[in-house]
C-alpha cells in the first residue's frame, strides 16, 4: 500500500514559525478523516518535538509518513545531543535557558509528553552529533 510522505525543514530559534509543520500534518489528517483521538496524539507529540528542535536542536528536518494503519514521524536535528537521557525523560526537568522559559516554553514536559502521546517512541542521541526521534501513532 502506498503512503503519504510529508517533509518539513525546521529553522532554528524561529518561534514565529514553530508549530507550522505540526499544523500542516493536522490539516492533512483531518482531510483524510482520521479519528480525532489519533489526530490529537499526533498533533501534541509532533508539536512538542518541533518545539524541542527549535529550542535545543538548532533546527532540523521532520519526515512524516502516513499509512493506512499508522502515522510515523522522524524528527532529526544536528544539535548538541542529549547528555542525560534518563533525566531528560523526567517530567519537569529542563535544560532550556531562561530567555526560552520566559516565552512560556521549557516546562520540562516535552519528551515525557511525546512518549505519553505516542505508541512507539525511539530516541537516538549522540553528543555533538544530534538527536533523532522516531515516533509512531497507530490509527484508532
Amino acid at each position: 500500500m502506498d503512503s503519504i510522505k510529508l517533509h518539513y525543514d525546521i529553522s532554528a530559534t524561529d518561534f514565529t514559525r514553530a508549530g507550522a509543520a505540526s499544523g500542516d500534518v493536522k490539516r492533512t489528517l483531518k482531510a483524510l478523516g482520521v479519528s480525532p483521538a489519533t489526530i490529537r496524539n499526533v498533533a501534541v507529540a509532533m508539536y512538542e518535538g518541533e518545539i524541542n528542535m527549535v529550542i535545543h536542536g538548532g533546527g532540523g528536518v521532520i519526515d512524516v509518513e502516513i499509512t493506512e494503519d499508522a502515522i510515523r514521524m522522524v524528527l532529526a536535528d544536528q544539535g548538541p545531543g542529549i547528555e542525560n537521557v534518563e533525566l531528560a525523560m523526567k517530567e519537569g526537568y529542563s535544560t532550556a535557558p531562561d530567555n526560552i522559559r520566559a516565552l512560556g516554553f521549557g516546562a520540562g514536559m516535552g519528551l515525557p509528553n511525546i512518549k505519553k502521546y505516542t505508541d512507539e517512541f525511539q530516541l537516538d542521541t549522540a553528543l555533538g552529533v544530534g538527536t533523532t526521534l522516531t515516533l509512531k501513532v497507530f490509527m484508532k
Binding site: 503519504i4 508549530g19 499544523g23 493536522k26 483531518k30 482531510a31 483524510l32 478523516g33 490529537r40 498533533a43
Partner: protein, 467 residues
C-alpha cells in the same frame, strides 16, 4: 453533502465575480463559478465575513421582515444586549425596551436576562467539575459551526447548555402563555439580532430538536424605526422593563461572558482569525491550564456583528457607560434548579464537509493525487481559477469540482518558453515600470531609514552590548 439552511446569501446581480470573498472565508466555502461567487453550502458557517469584505454589497443576510409579525396575535421582542450600544447618549435601557413596545411588540424580554441565568448555570457546572475543561462557550453559533467543521476534536469541550437566547425565549413563551392564555402558536417570538448566524441557529438548531423562536429581525432593519419611536418617548411614559444587570449586558462584547463567571483562569478571543489560532492551540493541548474559553467570531464580540449599525468599539464604549448605572446581576437560578433542564437535547455532530472521502484508504489515494497536483501548480494563490489558493484548487480537482486547465498559469505555460508566459509582475527580468530607486523619496526607502534608527538590536550593537 448535507442540505444546510443559510442566512448568508448572494445577490447575483451585484456580484462582479472578484476574488475578495473567496480569500477571506474561514472555511474556504466560496468559489467563483460562471462569473459569480458560489457558496459551498455544507462548508458555510454563516459567520458573515464575506458580507463584511464584499466591496460590491453582493453578499447579504436574510432576516424576517416586519410582515412576519402579523402572523401572530401576541408578539414578543427579545433584544440582544448588543442593541443597547447602537444609540447615542443613551443612559437608560428602558428607552430601548419601551421603544420596542411602542413600535408594536406586546412584550419585551431582554436576552441579557437569560444570559444572567446561563452565567449562573455555567459557574455552577464548572464548580461541580462535571465539564471537560477548558470549557468553550456555546453562545456564538458561528463558533459552533466552525468547531464542527474544522475542529471536531473540540466538540467535547463545548458548554452543552442553552444559550442566553434559547433560555430567554423559553422564559418569554412561558410567561406569555400564562398571562394571555393564548396557545403557543399564536405567540410570535422574535430575536433582534446582530448577526446572520443567530438566525441560522434559530431556523436549524444544531443542539436542539426544536426551537422556541419564530424569527430574527436584523438590528440594522429595526434601527431607523426604533430610533424615531424612542425620540418621541416622554420620561413619564417609561415602564420599568429593564431586568438585567452588568453581567447580562456584558455579554454584548468580547470578554463579557467570561468575566461574568467571576473566575480568573479564562481567555476571551474575538475575530475569526484570532479564534482560529486559539482553537489550534487548544487542539494541541497547549491551553489546559484554563477553565473557560470565550470565543466570538466577530471582532469585538456581538457588537461587531454584520447586522449592527454602529462601529463595535463605539458600541462597546456606550455599553460600558450604560452598565455604570446597573446592578451587578438581577437574575440567578433557584437553589434546587435542575441544570439538566438547560441541557442540549441533541448531540452536536462533526461536519464531514472538509473530509476528502468516507474511508481513510480512499482519502489517502485522493490526498496523494492532491499533493501531486498542488506541486505542479505555481503556488501563487492568485485566485483566478476561482479557488482561494492553489491547495484549494488541487482539492477541488480531486473531488471533481474543477480541472487542471482552470489554472491560467498551467494553460499559459504550454503556449511559450522561458517565463514569457507569466504576467509581468511574476517574471524574473526587471519590471517595465520600476518603482523609484533608493533616495527618490519612495516610502520603502523611508521605512528602511526609520527602522534602522529604531531597531533596539541595532542600538545594542552600537553600544557593544550582547543581544
Amino acid at each position: 453533502m448535507e442540505n444546510v439552511f443559510h442566512s448568508v446569501r448572494l445577490d447575483d446581480e451585484k456580484c462582479k465575480g472578484c476574488t475578495n470573498c473567496i480569500k477571506r472565508c474561514p472555511t474556504q466555502a466560496i468559489r467563483v463559478r460562471g462569473k459569480k461567487a458560489y457558496i459551498i453550502s455544507d462548508r458555510c458557517i454563516d459567520c458573515g465575513e464575506c458580507i463584511r469584505v464584499c466591496p460590491h454589497n453582493a453578499k447579504y443576510a436574510v432576516s424576517e421582515s416586519f410582515n412576519e409579525l402579523l402572523k401572530y396575535s401576541y408578539r414578543i421582542a427579545l433584544p440582544a444586549p448588543s442593541l443597547y450600544g447602537q444609540f447615542n447618549n443613551l443612559d437608560n435601557v428602558d428607552y430601548v425596551l419601551n421603544g420596542l413596545k411602542k413600535m408594536g411588540f406586546d412584550d419585551v424580554v431582554e436576552v441579557s436576562k437569560g444570559a444572567e441565568f446561563i452565567s449562573d448555570a455555567t459557574r455552577k457546572m464548572i464548580e461541580a467539575g462535571v465539564l471537560k475543561t477548558p470549557v468553550i462557550s456555546s453562545a456564538c453559533p458561528a463558533v459552533l459551526r466552525l468547531i464542527r467543521t474544522r475542529f471536531p476534536n473540540l466538540i467535547g469541550n463545548i458548554l452543552p447548555l442553552f444559550t442566553p437566547l434559547d433560555f430567554t425565549a423559553k422564559l418569554a413563551r412561558e410567561r406569555a402563555m400564562q398571562e394571555t392564555g393564548l396557545p403557543s402558536e399564536k405567540i410570535g417570538i422574535f430575536f433582534i439580532t446582530p448577526c446572520p448566524a443567530k438566525r441560522t441557529e434559530i431556523k436549524t438548531p444544531l443542539c436542539f430538536e426544536d426551537q422556541n423562536i419564530d424569527g430574527a429581525i436584523a438590528i440594522k432593519d429595526i434601527y431607523p424605526v426604533l430610533v424615531q419611536t424612542m425620540d418621541k418617548l416622554q420620561p413619564e411614559e417609561l415602564e420599568p422593563l429593564n431586568d438585567s444587570g452588568i453581567i447580562g449586558v456584558g455579554w454584548a462584547s468580547s470578554g463579557g461572558e467570561a468575566a461574568g463567571l467571576l473566575k480568573e483562569r479564562y481567555l476571551a478571543a474575538d475575530g475569526i482569525e484570532n479564534i482560529t489560532k486559539v482553537l489550534e492551540e487548544l487542539e494541541d493541548e497547549k491551553l489546559n491550564d484554563l477553565d473557560f474559553i470565550e470565543l466570538n467570531c466577530c471582532t469585538g464580540g456581538c457588537v461587531g456583528g454584520v447586522l449592527t449599525v454602529e462601529n463595535p468599539y463605539v458600541a462597546k464604549a456606550r455599553i460600558q457607560r450604560l452598565r455604570k448605572f446597573m446592578p451587578v446581576s438581577c437574575n440567578s437560578l433557584p437553589k434546587d434548579f435542575d441544570l439538566d433542564e438547560l441541557s442540549w437535547t441533541k448531540e452536536l455532530l462533526p461536519s464531514p464537509a472538509m473530509k476528502l472521502a468516507d474511508n481513510v484508504l480512499k482519502a489517502m489515494r485522493l490526498m496523494t493525487e492532491l499533493k501531486a497536483i498542488e506541486a505542479s501548480l505555481p503556488g501563487l494563490d492568485c485566485g483566478i481559477c476561482g479557488a482561494p489558493s492553489c491547495h484549494a484548487l488541487a482539492d477541488d480537482i480531486v473531488r471533481g469540482y474543477a480541472e487542471r486547465s482552470d489554472c491560467v498559469f498551467s494553460a499559459l505555460r504550454k503556449a511559450s518558453d522561458g517565463d514569457e508566459w507569466l504576467p509581468a509582475p511574476f517574471r524574473e527580468r526587471a519590471a517595465v515600470h520600476p518603482f523609484p530607486e533608493k533616495g527618490d523619496g519612495y516610502a520603502h526607502d523611508f521605512a528602511h531609514t526609520f527602522l534602522k534608527h529604531t531597531d533596539p538590536k541595532d542600538e545594542n550593537k552600537e553600544k557593544g552590548e550582547p543581544t
